[in-house]
Amino acid sequence: MTTTPRSVLVTGGNRGIGLATARALAEAGHRVAVTYRSQAPEGLLGVRCDVTSGEDVDRAFGEVEAEHGPVEVLVSNAGITDDQLLLRMTEESFSRVVDANLTAAFRVAKRASRSMLRARFGRLVFVSSVVALTGGAGQANYAASKAGLVGFSRSLARELGSRGITSNVVAPGFVDTDMTADLGDARKAELLKTIPLGRTATADEIAGVVAFLASDASSYVTGAVLPVDGGLGMGH
């Protein structure tokens, strides 16, 4: 896969899918920066950033621009869960999850698109989830925020396509990460039965698809939702 080296920013890049993605993109030859909240990963340019703060986002982009040049590839990956059945879910929890997963994507994409417009080039990749399309009991807030990314990304694909900017969504299925480690064994076994490939994904398997979207090979792909879920979400 030929790859033009780019300035890349991965939000939430200090663990899980984000870290695997950042490492895969660095290996592909890109200049990779990651945002983190508590601990910066080794070997990558770490910029401290809480994506729920517009000021933080602006400052973090400034730091990346100073070190690596304007961001050409944005991977909006930072996200949180706060699972609870609807009747026990507070409005505060719903809003907090939507703010961290959806509004934060708006913050970083808006900030990134400014220089992408000037450059007449950009790659926006939003990390969503299979539950965006299938729904998930106990995940109304999370699923709603991740589904919102689809409409958001597709709108940007239409708005910015004429300027050489693509916008795509990657929808991972059940991945072995810190965020899914909380699920009980019984729930995990039940979930595995519904996955045609019969196993969970490694974070690297998601990272490979994001790396494809950042590469020259994906130049005609925009407005897409790429499931990387072992077949879990088929038909949606």
């Binding site: 400014r114 417009l117 000037r118 708005e159 910015l160 004429s162 300027r163």
Partner: protein
């Protein structure tokens, strides 16, 4: 900066960002009707001028701006 000076800057930026001929950029020139500028190009042009003059223009301020001259007046007011 006087409206005339602002107009000169605006004309130069329009030639570069909107890719139009300098003689087509007059105070009464309409962005949409005369220059056939699409909405995204207008946003890019506005961003460019915000950087050039070190100001931020709100949507409210821009609502009534339809011509080059109107834009020059707005910037002139904001930078005086």
């Amino acid at each position: 900066m006087s409206p005339a000076e602002v107009l000169d800057v605006l004309r130069a930026r329009a030639v570069e960002v909107l890719e139009v001929a300098a003689e087509d950029v007059q105070p009464e020139t309409s962005f949409v009707e005369d220059l056939q500028v699409d909405s995204l190009s207008l946003v890019e042009f506005t961003m460019d001028l915000e950087d050039e003059f070190g100001i931020e223009l709100s949507e409210d301020e821009l609502t009534d701006v339809h011509t080059i001259g109107g834009f020059a007046d707005l910037i002139s007011r904001r930078t005086s």
